[in-house]
Amino acid sequence: MEIIEILLKSIIIGGLVGFGVGAGAARMFHTPKVQGMGAFRTLGELNACAGDSVSHFSFGLGFFFNAWASAVGAGAFTQDVDHRIIPNWAASFLLRKGKKPEDTLHNPKKMAIMGAIVGVIVVGFLNTTSSAIPESMQAIAVKVLVPAANLLINPIMPVIFWLAALDAGKRSGMWGTVLGGAAHLVMGNAVPGIVLGILIGKGVDDSGWNKLTKTLLTAVVILFVLSGFFRGFDINMIKGFYLDVPNWLAGLHKIFGLEVK
């Protein structure tokens, strides 16, 4: 019974995702006039297959097996279902019998419809086959995966992102360090801060302190202030310096449901 429920849901999900991915991929060929949706690497890879139906299919197939292993093992499709499998297979089916990419791959309508069909099949297949895996085996995957993921989240990813920011130039390195450190204090993980630091550093490197980069910095400051407030970071910081929490601040926190001792 459950498998039918899963199949029906998968058909709906696959159709929706495939439709969006297909249309978005075709629209990428018309940027900057048209807003596309996909990824630069997807665009590059679609071009690399040079409108050859078989190349598109085998490129997608390689990633399909990865996605299948990952779906069975951990319930995760990999990002390649949207980035590579659906766009390339949709292109492959549209391009058969030597049709030209200009009339098929670059046409959002045709790609959306074919993408939806491919999406239904791929998502339906991946979900029904991985739901057939016994629950005890899935539990082992979780048992092994969660500690590994925790290590990845902290400290490996912060370190890698941090080093990338340091290597990306003085501004990114400085902003990445300051915001990364602050993010670890406030949010418990440095990655979001470092990402925002790279964003600001590189934005200013490329286009200077204009309206957009200033807006960005303001948004980041607001994000940190709000996040700090709702996590009670301000209170902990004041206490950390052995100071007294002002009554108005304690009162403000009380309004939002945080009792200050």
Binding site: M37, N66, A74, G75, S136, V142, L145, V195
Partner: protein
């Protein structure tokens, strides 16, 4: 006499301009495409939450959400996803291509559900129709924000805001997962560890991602020799 000639000369010109104003190419329809895709991706996370299958993301990112579901706190997944969503919305409107991986699969598919779950707001993730609706509405909002920023900053900015650097760092951290899974499996139990070593080695030789082999190997050995005391 005059009229047909006028129509003839104007028609090709009109077609040329109008193609970018039709549904399939226009800016106004972009949010609709984002909404449909977002509805699917968000419901994919519903599938993961309910059946433990079908999340539209890499193992490393899904594992962050899983760490939260297992009671380890949603902070990392929420912050990671939300910052990606933020960065990619900005980048997407500036460069003309919205990155599905960062904005929708990680941001909307992992970050937003993590935020909701950490706030105890589980209905949009446990209920399928509600998941579809939530994803669609959020996708529509994201689409409109992108079109609005695009209109607002047109021709002003030619920076990618270091997206290439972040992408490089993201890919580099993904590579760490394979060895980490083997290490984690070896600490779980000896048979599970041996299974993951064999799986990782075979996948490496077959030029497949080591992480996938390590998980499958651990699962197969773990099914034959259960981890003592651990699993129900």
């Amino acid at each position: 006499m005059e009229k047909p000639r006028l129509v003839q000369t104007e028609q090709p010109l009109n077609n040329e301009i109008d193609i970018y104003k039709t549904f399939w190419y226009a800016d106004w329809s972009f949010p609709i495409f984002v909404a449909l895709l977002s509805a699917g991706i968000f419901s994919g996370t519903h599938m993961y939450y309910v059946y433990h299958i079908g999340a539209f993301n890499d193992v490393a990112v899904v594992a962050m959400l899983e760490a939260g579901i297992q009671g380890g706190g949603y902070g990392a997944a929420a912050a990671f996803g939300a910052s990606f969503l933020f960065a990619r919305i900005l980048e997407g409107s500036l460069v003309g291509i919205l990155d599905i991986g960062g904005a929708l699969q990680t941001g909307l598919g992992i970050g937003v559900p993590a935020l909701m779950l950490s706030a105890g707001f589980t209905a949009p993730i446990t209920n399928f129709p509600l998941a579809l609706l939530t994803g669609a509405v959020l996708g529509l909002i994201i689409g409109y924000i992108i079109i609005a920023i695009k209109k607002f900053t047109v021709g002003q900015v030619d920076s990618t805001f270091g997206a290439d650097i972040m992408m490089g760092a993201g890919n580099a951290s993904g590579r760490f997962l394979g060895p980490l899974i083997v290490i984690s499996a070896c600490s779980a139990s000896i048979p599970v560890g041996i299974g993951s070593i064999i799986g990782a080695a075979l996948f490496y030789v077959w030029k497949k991602p080591v992480a996938g082999g390590a998980i499958l190997g651990a699962m197969i050995f773990g099914a034959i020799f259960p981890i003592p005391g651990g699993l129900e």
